[in-house]
């Protein structure tokens, strides 16, 4: 095949190879590591009012539930390291969301719970001041929540 530098054939060949390259690249990447399904929800994380942040996170019509167990200290001396653990007894728990109402940006985290994981997560978060902690759970297409008040002695958002 005669292929001169600017012939339509060459252009077709080059773009074909480029496309092939993209597919090969994507294929190799997905073999190396599973593709990320979570897309960081910038609008929700940057929202500064609790109600708007909850809405921006996609949470709708949540019901209060006794089957979300929040473990957190009543008094946290250091707001920079507040331990929290959450257990959901709601069957089919797919997400556990954590919000701290009075943080400058209240949306703290969203944990997507796969079938291979118990509906439990323990971590440490920063709290700017005394505030309710609010945990939402998505299960079977419905949202549930529970809250827990934490008194913060020294705020942790500037640290």
């Amino acid at each position: 095949m005669q292929v001169t530098p600017h012939s339509p054939k060459r252009r077709a060949l080059v773009s074909g190879l480029a496309r092939l390259g993209i597919w090969v690249g994507a294929g190799t990447l997905s073999l190396l590591r599973p593709l990320w399904a979570v897309v960081w929800n910038q609008a929700a994380f940057e929202t500064m009012k609790i109600d708007a942040a909850i809405q921006a996170a996609g949470i709708r019509q949540a019901q209060l539930s006794d089957d979300i167990l929040i473990n957190a200290p009543e008094i946290a001396e250091n707001g920079a390291q507040v331990p929290i653990d959450v257990t959901s007894r709601i069957p089919g728990t797919e997400h556990i969301y954590i919000f701290a109402d009075k943080n400058v940006q209240p949306y703290v985290a969203d944990f997507v719970i796969g079938k291979g994981l118990e509906p439990y997560v323990a971590t440490r978060i920063k709290m700017g001041e005394t505030s309710p902690l609010r945990v939402y759970v998505l299960a079977g297409g419905r949202y549930f929540y529970a809250t827990r008040e934490v008194q913060v002695t020294i705020g942790g958002c500037a640290s």
Binding site: P34, W40, V82, A158
Partner: protein, 107 residues
């Protein structure tokens, strides 16, 4: 180069208790450098993933309100000795890190 992630795994029945300690400053962007009074730039982990033998069991998206050097404890189902648990993260600067641990014999 980010510092390593420390992972501890304990097998209890068929559930692997996974504890991870990630080295990361998790800067909120609100803190000032005491030396010069300049604001320290926002620097935090945005997404985290945990896999069990290559299968995703958890993904998370985080704000800068997760504590410095984040601690994470989860429980992986259907685990057996020798299984591989991998934890990885990506931060707002596009830096990333990953670490693997083997599930030990039953406690």
């Amino acid at each position: 180069m980010p510092e390593p992630i420390r992972i501890k795994v304990r097998l209890d029945g068929d559930v692997a208790d996974v504890r991870a300690l990630i080295s990361h400053p998790m800067e909120t962007g609100l803190r000032k450098d005491p030396a010069n009074g300049q604001a320290i730039a926002l620097h935090f982990i945005k997404t985290v993933m945990i896999t069990h033998n290559g299968v995703v069991v958890m993904e998370a998206q985080w704000a800068q309100a997760m504590s410095r050097n984040p601690y994470l404890n989860v429980r992986v189902r259907n685990a057996n000795p020798g299984d591989e648990i991998e934890i990885s993260w990506v931060d707002n600067r596009g830096e990333s890190n990953a670490a693997k641990a083997k599930v030990p014999a039953r406690a």
